[in-house]
């Protein structure tokens, strides 16, 4: 590195740059917090959606699945599972979920297995409500197609 570029200058860039961009980031975060209510439909977060999120976490679903592309890549994306199997009909999707969850683990040998979580009918409905709400978040039109 050039000799006329001193350690003091490097230090100032570190402190100044680090502080400036952190404050900038905090400012952007405030702005995003103001914008999010229009994008995340938080007025539709019902008690069952909250319960569904809790079930999602307590059973470590993210350990195999991804949700809006984040998580593990062992099993299908689920932020758009309502679009994939519900076809716009919440009741049909909930029925599908009830039978799908009851079927696990599928008996096919060598296939990746989802454990049987022994959720009640109400719990599977709550999980479905959570996934339906998630599918409606404005996530800049991701994923590119319904396969996720």
């Amino acid at each position: 590195m050039a000799d006329n570029f001193t350690k003091g200058m490097a230090r100032n860039i570190y402190y100044g740059g680090g502080l400036f961009f952190f404050l900038f980031f905090v400012g952007l975060t405030f702005d995003t917090m103001l914008e999010l209510p229009k994008r995340d439909n938080r007025d539709q977060i019902t008690d069952t959606v909250v319960h569904g999120k809790k079930l999602w976490e307590d059973n470590n679903c993210i350990g195999c699945h991804s949700l809006m592309g984040e998580g593990a890549y062992f099993a299908p994306e689920l932020a758009n599972v309502y679009d994939r199997y519900g076809a716009g009909n919440e009741q049909a999707f909930k029925q599908f979920m009830q039978s799908w969850m009851a079927m696990q683990p599928l008996p096919a040998e060598g296939r990746r297995k989802m454990p049987q979580f022994n959720l009640s009918t109400e719990e599977v409905d709550a999980l479905s409500d959570f996934l339906i709400w998630t599918s409606r978040i404005n996530d800049n039109d991701w994923p590119p197609n319904k396969q996720g």
Binding site: M1, F5, R39, N60, P105, K113, D139
Partner: protein, 473 residues
């Protein structure tokens, strides 16, 4: 070793390497489960094995960072550690809590673990990488506070070198951003938004400060280059890391709810993120070329240069290939992400810990100029086995990811292949990855074996330095 208290680093390093071995074993299990879907089911379902794989990684790196800190802070501060007793006590607390948590993952269903650890009182579990029970998270905070207190007091009473100041800043940042793991709102978008304040601001923020400080310390020791020069490089590298990396968080905000300007900000700033890693590579090579001493521990120098190069490839190049929003739209959450994750964590963080272990362990074992030639030769072989196999894993997963994108993401609704059908097409890649994984395990075993190589005569010779080791500078 300049100060007796530096030796508290030793159990930290040994335990870190034991956890590393566990991480690799579980990596092989999930690698096989990708192919034989019901392998070990229902005893160890994939989600459990993956959680063990990733959590062991995080915890062994934390043990490594702590060991590195206990080793280098007293030497830099030119004083004994404030409280070696506290360091030893925290080691046992953290090791016990970590072991209990992993056993909890393996022995009971996750939902039961959540229940018996009173997750309902303050639900923080079930989010990727933050799966630890809330009580474990509280334990981590307590250990971190005690650790920072101990290290902080040491620095306060001693010399405040740039290496120490950067390191302690990184460690405080690590502790502060971990607090966001306790924030788990009902709104998934807010949950994800601040989840990244732990994950991204760790690995693409404050951890880079820690890595930079450890690398700078090691290079001062093995090259004997003037501290002023090395400190200038350190400052400018971490400056670029923060300038690019903080707003670079935006590349995680593309598809989880936040607004459209993050597509621009995330793309622009994360495109700059390879710069600090590139500078780190130039820095490492240049310091070695300008070296003023010939340190007997050649393999430590190899690790130092190696971690800079591999971090540049894994975090820099492999990050860049999928970070621009128009590309990420198709690659997000695919095997490309997995490829990047593997090379970046190994290159930047696993290798920096092995760098400081390679430099300091021989000294703590009474060998100031490094291990005997025969042991270094074995360690060098292990270095190349691990580096090459990890590159193999990365390239294979990249190819798998590209094929996955082509089959599953690029076509329209009518033509896209479903996830599980796509996975079936990727089997040849997963087999190849597993083979590289086995080579990696062999490399790790070779590495661990290298600690025990060397005849009595060779070891005795290595205990008598022929020339100044430079560690008193």
């Amino acid at each position: 070793m300049k100060f007796e208290s530096q030796a508290v680093a030793k159990p930290y390093f040994i335990f870190a390497l034991a956890l590393f071995a566990g991480q690799i074993l579980f990596g092989l299990i999930i690698g096989l489960q990708y192919i034989i879907g019901d392998f070990l089911f229902p005893y160890i379902p994939f989600n459990v094995a993956r959680m063990v794989h990733t959590n062991l990684l995080i915890v062994w790196l934390l043990f490594g960072f702590m060991g590195a800190t206990y080793y280098l802070v007293p030497e830099e501060a030119d004083t004994e550690l404030h409280s070696p007793w506290l360091a030893k006590a925290l080691f046992w607390i953290f090791a016990a809590a970590g072991t209990a948590t992993v056993l909890g993952y393996l022995l009971v269903p996750y939902a039961t673990l959540a229940e018996v650890t009173f997750n309902d009182l303050l639900p923080t579990m079930g989010r990727e990488f933050l799966e630890q029970p809330t009580i474990t998270k509280i334990g981590i905070v307590i250990v971190a506070l005690g650790f920072i207190y101990n290290v902080g007091m040491t620095i306060l009473k001693g010399r405040k070198t740039v290496v120490n100041m950067v390191l302690i800043t990184g460690l405080i940042g690590l502790a502060v951003f971990f607090l966001f793991s306790f924030y788990n709102p009902h709104n998934l978008v807010l949950d994800k938004y601040f989840w990244w304040w732990v994950v991204h601001l760790w690995v693409e923020g404050v951890w880079e400060l820690i890595m930079g400080a450890i690398l700078a310390f090691t290079l001062i020791k093995v090259t004997g280059v003037d501290r002023e020069v090395i400190e200038k490089w350190l400052y400018i590298i971490i400056a670029m890391a923060l300038i690019s990396g903080i707003i670079g968080t935006g590349h995680h905000y593309y598809w989880i709810g936040p607004g459209e300007y993050w597509l621009w900000l995330g793309s622009i700033f994360s495109a700059i993120e390879p710069v600090p890693f590139f500078m780190m590579t130039v820095f490492a090579f240049r310091m070695v070329r300008q070296r003023r001493i010939e340190h007997g521990n050649k393999i430590a120098t190899t690790w130092a240069v190696g971690t800079a190069v591999m971090a540049f490839l894994g975090a820099g190049v492999w990050g860049f290939i999928h970070t621009l929003a128009p590309v990420n739209y198709f690659t997000h959450g695919s095997q490309i992400t997995a490829a990047h994750g593997h090379l970046a964590f190994f290159g930047a963080y696993a290798m920096i810990v092995m760098t400081i272990i390679s430099y300091s362990m021989p000294i703590m074992r009474g060998r100031p100029q490094g291990n005997p030639e025969s042991a270094q030769k074995v360690e060098r072989m292990a270095f190349w086995m691990m580096v090459i196999s990890m590159l193999g894993i990365t390239l294979t997963l990249t190819a798998a990811g590209a094929y996955q994108v082509a089959l599953q993401r690029l076509p329209d609704d009518a033509n896209a292949l479903a996830f599980m059908a796509t996975q079936d097409k990727l089997m040849p890649f997963y087999w190849t990855r597993l083979v590289f994984g086995l080579v990696f395990l062999a490399g790790l075993v070779t590495y661990l074996y290298s600690f025990f190589v060397g005849s009595k005569e060779e070891v005795a010779a290595s205990e008598k330095p022929e020339s100044c080791c430079g560690s008193c500078s």
